[in-house]
């Protein structure tokens, strides 16, 4: 039963990541929708722990790549090495051949290295020396980045931002959660002790269930209104792309599944909207201060 599975997953994660219900749900819905996740926050608020916990509970193989400014694409993808016995080149696989990758501090790497992730994220395959290699399925990237005003960062280009289904922030825990953190067990030990709640087959079933959540034409109308507003209102440098529209729908479906709705509701769209579109919409300078997502939601009547 998908709902039971989801509940178990959430319980397992929330046991480790305390007091972060909404970000955890968003992260899970992002992975269930088959999208990549970008976590943007200060160091030490639990980005890595969240990624690791997700991998463990979903029963995925996990690799962490710490991005640095001197990193090369080969460090991620791997290299082709000549094998004397077979007289052929064989691939020495890099860390990318993993189901769930934590690309830590992705904006510390140079654009060249960042772009090595592009093909992998979109096509679920990589190319080395004209040879194409499929990546394991399911394949997720959870990238973390420091706020871009920190020293020594290369901000991700828009094309790459667009490939992340969601961008979430964790933020500081509230007082109670912080107390639990301080008094409770070591997080690393907790993660280490976690056992998989589902296997990859069950994950496939869940992902299927996401795409099967009913979408009515009224809801499509609503999403189209949102897209049209971002394009026509003049508040943004440019509007949302069709890919962003699809991403919004998938994310809303996943959210609906987690919220145990039989169908996608406008509330589901509104719940994921800030995290799906905020990193895709370049604001005009004069609107930069306003809470534009709330304005956008308030401006659009539900059909």
């Amino acid at each position: 039963m998908p709902h039971n599975d989801i509940e178990h997953i959430l319980n397992a994660i929330n046991a480790v990541i305390v007091g972060k219900n909404k970000p955890v749900k968003l992260a899970l819905s992002c992975l269930l929708a088959g999208g990549h996740l970008l976590i943007e926050d200060l160091p030490g608020v639990g980005k890595t722990t969240l990624a690791h916990t997700l991998a463990k509970t979903l029963g995925l193989s996990f690799q962490r790549i710490q991005f640095t400014s001197d990193m090369l694409p080969a460090d991620i993808l791997g290299v082709a090495i000549f094998n004397r016995d077979t007289q052929e080149f064989s691939l020495h696989k890099g860390p990318i051949f993993t189901q769930l990758i934590l690309a830590d501090e992705v904006n510390r790497a140079t654009p060249r290295t960042q772009s090595a992730l592009l093909e992998a994220m979109e096509e679920h395959q990589i190319t080395i020396e004209n040879q194409t290699y499929d990546l394991p399925e399911p394949f997720f990237i959870i990238a973390t980045q420091n706020p871009s005003n920190q020293i020594g960062t290369f901000p991700l280009p828009e094309s790459q931002l667009d490939r992340f289904l969601m961008r979430i922030e964790l933020g500081y825990p509230n007082a109670q959660a912080e107390r639990d953190l301080l008094l409770g067990q070591d997080r690393r030990q907790l993660v280490h002790d976690l056992t998989a709640v589902i296997n990859s087959d069950q994950l496939n079933v869940l992902q299927d269930a996401v795409s099967k959540v009913h979408v009515s034409s009224a809801l499509i109308d609503y999403i189209q209104k949102i897209l049209a507003y971002t394009r026509d209102s003049g508040q943004f440098v440019y509007g949302l792309s069709p890919r962003a529209g699809i991403a919004l729908l998938r994310a809303a479906q996943a959210w609906a599944l987690i919220a145990q709705h039989q169908q996608v509701l406008p509330e589901d769209v509104q719940a994921v909207l800030p995290n799906v579109i905020a990193h895709r919409l370049p604001l005009r300078a004069q609107n930069a201060t306003s809470d534009f997502i709330t304005d956008l939601i308030n401006a659009i009547a539900i059909p």
């Binding site: 009515s216 039989q262 169908q263 509701l265 406008p266 509104q270 939601i297 009547a301 539900i302």
Partner: protein
């Protein structure tokens, strides 16, 4: 404020300089207040308040000095302009802004008291757009529109108003004659044919490029040499000046005439000249219906009232005519000559008379005299002093139409043939763009009529004996090359042509404006409405049509709105009745709130109704967003049953 300034700008031309000074000073004060925080007059008594009041007082005094009172167009508009500028400094709150804006609209209207030509209309249209934009900006409390956006919105609003404007323009009952007899357009004192002629006077006209009138011929246009536009007839002379014969009999009696030959029907659009006479192609068969007018005995058409606004005149003329063929008392006036003047001219005429007593032969002799001696047609003749006729005929021999007409008349009278001078215009230029014949002041002309027994008054143009070109091809051939062209352009042929094209096109546009917009008075309205099928265009019918037009326009708008109305499916409609019920109970659903969130909000206010609210929400979600597995009647029933009862 830009709108106000633009709107007031044309007024500066018509008003004393101090109005402009005060206006500019006040605007400057305001701008400095905005930019550099200059102090403005306050509500309480303060020095700035006193300055403001002082300026107002000075303005009043100046107004009284300039106009004597505050009644009347000029004084009223000046008062409005000054007061508006004082108000600009005094703007404190929203209401003041509104007042200034609406007064600005009024200022726009007052501009049309003075001028109603195309540039004014365009300028005022721009002003109205700016005013409307400021009104929008006043109501745009969030400042969500940029200046460009404001102008765009204002323009589109005004464009949407155009159908209504057209409807009102065509159908609103017209009052005969504009209010207050405006706009005079300051036409008084403009050059034009006079009721007297002194040698050398028409020459000033000939240098004037102003349009005297425009003519639209119904069918064919007569040859250039036949385009004699008949104006005042001059009889009496004191040797220098020629004047009309101002006798009651002449002024009020219809002449005895018959017409024959080609018939020409045409409409003249006469520019105002503040005189009574009309111009008509020689010779009109009957006086026009409008303006009310009559014939004089010497064949002029005279309006009852002076022509001080542009006037359309329908006329019908014939190429041949015989005028007053019978001998009468008046003819003696055509033999009058000042005593003891023109001795040499009289001598010459008398020698001719001795050779032949036939008037036709005398005429031919005089024409031949002009033709065979070294007379020249020139627009810049030497200034004549003393006995002008004698000196012209025997010494200078350089002149234009009026010299020839005057000396010919003197010759004829001296020889005993009755003669008189007719002034008017000759020729005109056809504008190729709209086909109107444009007659300008420079086409002014003078010719002679002599009376022959049994034939009546015959037109003789002595100028033709000297310069046939003037008659056949119009005045422009006589003009020096490049005349009427801005100096810089005169150098290039192509530029001259280009200038000519621009001029003819502008003339045509201006004419169309005059013909259809400004001339749209009661008569034209009547005609247009009759063409539209209104059988009896009185004001009741017009009001009816106007009402019908309004209904039609609003019907069209409502059809449009109906067609583009937001489509609600039945489920949404049911849900919206539920929402309305909730709204009546004081729980309004924001348009962006989803059904689940709304249900949650409702349940907070009405926890005892949770079950029903959940039920309705569930049904609605299933029907609207879900797979529609439940029936709509369930939802209808549930909503019908539902009541917001307060909990006990």
């Amino acid at each position: 404020m830009a709108g106000l300034s633009l709107g007031a700008l044309p007024h500066f031309i018509y008003q004393p300089i101090w109005v402009a000074i005060i206006f500019i000073a006040m605007i400057f004060w305001r701008i400095m207040a905005i930019r550099h925080f200059w102090p403005l007059p306050t509500k309480q008594i303060s020095s700035f308040k006193l300055i403001h009041l002082a300026i107002a007082g000075i303005a009043f005094v100046l107004l009284f000095i300039s106009y004597g009172n505050l009644i009347g167009r000029d004084a009223g508009v000046a008062l409005l302009t000054v007061m508006l500028s004082l108000k600009v400094v005094e703007i404190r709150n929203h209401r003041d802004y509104y007042i200034s804006c609406f007064l600005g609209y009024f200022l726009v209207v007052t501009n049309f008291f003075y001028s109603q030509n195309i540039p004014t209309a365009l300028l005022m249209f721009i002003v109205v757009i700016i005013m409307t934009a400021s009104l929008i900006s006043l109501n745009d409390s969030k400042k969500s529109l940029s200046n460009k956006g404001l102008i765009k919105l204002a323009s589109s609003m005004l464009l949407q108003a155009i159908p209504l404007m057209l409807l009102l323009f065509v159908l609103f009952p017209r009052i005969a004659g504009p209010l207050w007899g405006l706009p005079q357009d300051a036409h008084s004192g403009k050059s034009g044919i006079d009721d007297s002629m002194t040698l050398g006077k028409i020459s000033q006209l000939i240098l004037s490029d102003e349009i005297a009138f425009r003519v639209r011929f119904k069918d064919q246009i007569p040859a250039q040499s036949q385009l004699y536009w008949r104006g005042p007839v001059l009889w009496q002379t004191d040797g220098i000046t020629w004047t009309e014969l101002n006798k009651r009999h002449v002024m009020s009696h219809r002449p005895d005439f018959t017409t024959s030959g080609n018939e020409y029907a045409y409409t003249i659009t006469l520019e105002p000249h503040n005189k009574r006479w009309l111009f008509a192609l020689d010779f009109p068969s009957e006086p026009p219906l409008t303006p009310a007018s009559h014939y004089t005995y010497d064949g002029q058409l005279r309006s009852i009232k002076p022509i001080n606004q542009r006037q359309q005149i329908r006329l019908r003329s014939y190429s041949q005519f015989s005028l007053n063929p019978k001998q009468d008392d008046v003819i003696n006036n055509a033999l009058q000559l000042p005593d003891k003047l023109h001795p040499r001219t009289r001598q010459l005429a008398q020698t001719w008379q001795q050779q032949s007593s036939q008037p036709t032969e005398l005429i031919n002799k005089a024409l031949a005299y002009f033709n065979q001696n070294d007379f020249y047609y020139t627009l810049t003749p030497p200034v004549l002093t003393g006995d002008t006729i004698d000196r012209f005929l025997f010494e200078s021999r350089r002149g234009f139409c009026e010299h020839y007409a005057a000396s010919f008349t003197v010759l004829m009278r001296a020889a005993g043939v009755p003669a008189r001078i007719v002034t008017g215009y000759l020729g005109g230029e056809i504008n190729p763009v709209d086909g109107f014949l444009v007659v300008r002041q420079r086409d002014a002309h003078a010719w002679v009529e002599v009376w022959l027994e049994d034939q009546g008054w015959i037109r003789i143009d002595p100028t033709s004996a000297v310069s046939p070109q003037r008659i056949d091809q119009g005045i422009s051939t006589i003009m020096p090359e490049g005349f009427n062209t801005p100096l810089l352009m005169a150098s290039s042929r192509q530029l001259i042509d280009l200038w000519h094209t621009i001029r003819t096109n502008w003339d045509a546009l201006d004419n169309a404006w005059n013909q259809w917009i400004l001339a749209y008075g009661p008569e034209l309205q009547k005609e247009v409405l009759q063409k539209l099928g209104m059988t009896k265009p009185d004001w009741q019918t017009m009001a009816l049509w106007l009402a019908m037009g309004f209904v039609l326009v609003s019907l069209l708008i409502s059809f449009y709105l109906f067609y583009h109305r937001p489509r609600y499916d039945p489920v949404s409609q049911l849900y919206s009745t539920f929402c309305k019920k909730a709204a009546r109970a004081g729980c309004v659903r924001p348009k962006q709130q989803g059904p689940l969130d709304f249900a949650r909000a409702l349940k907070q206010g009405y926890p005892h109704l949770s079950q029903q609210i959940d039920h309705i929400t569930e049904l609605y979600i299933n029907l609207h967003f879900g797979k529609q597995t439940v029936s709509m009647s369930d939802l209808r029933f549930a909503i019908k049953q539902f009541k917001f009862t307060p909990s006990n």
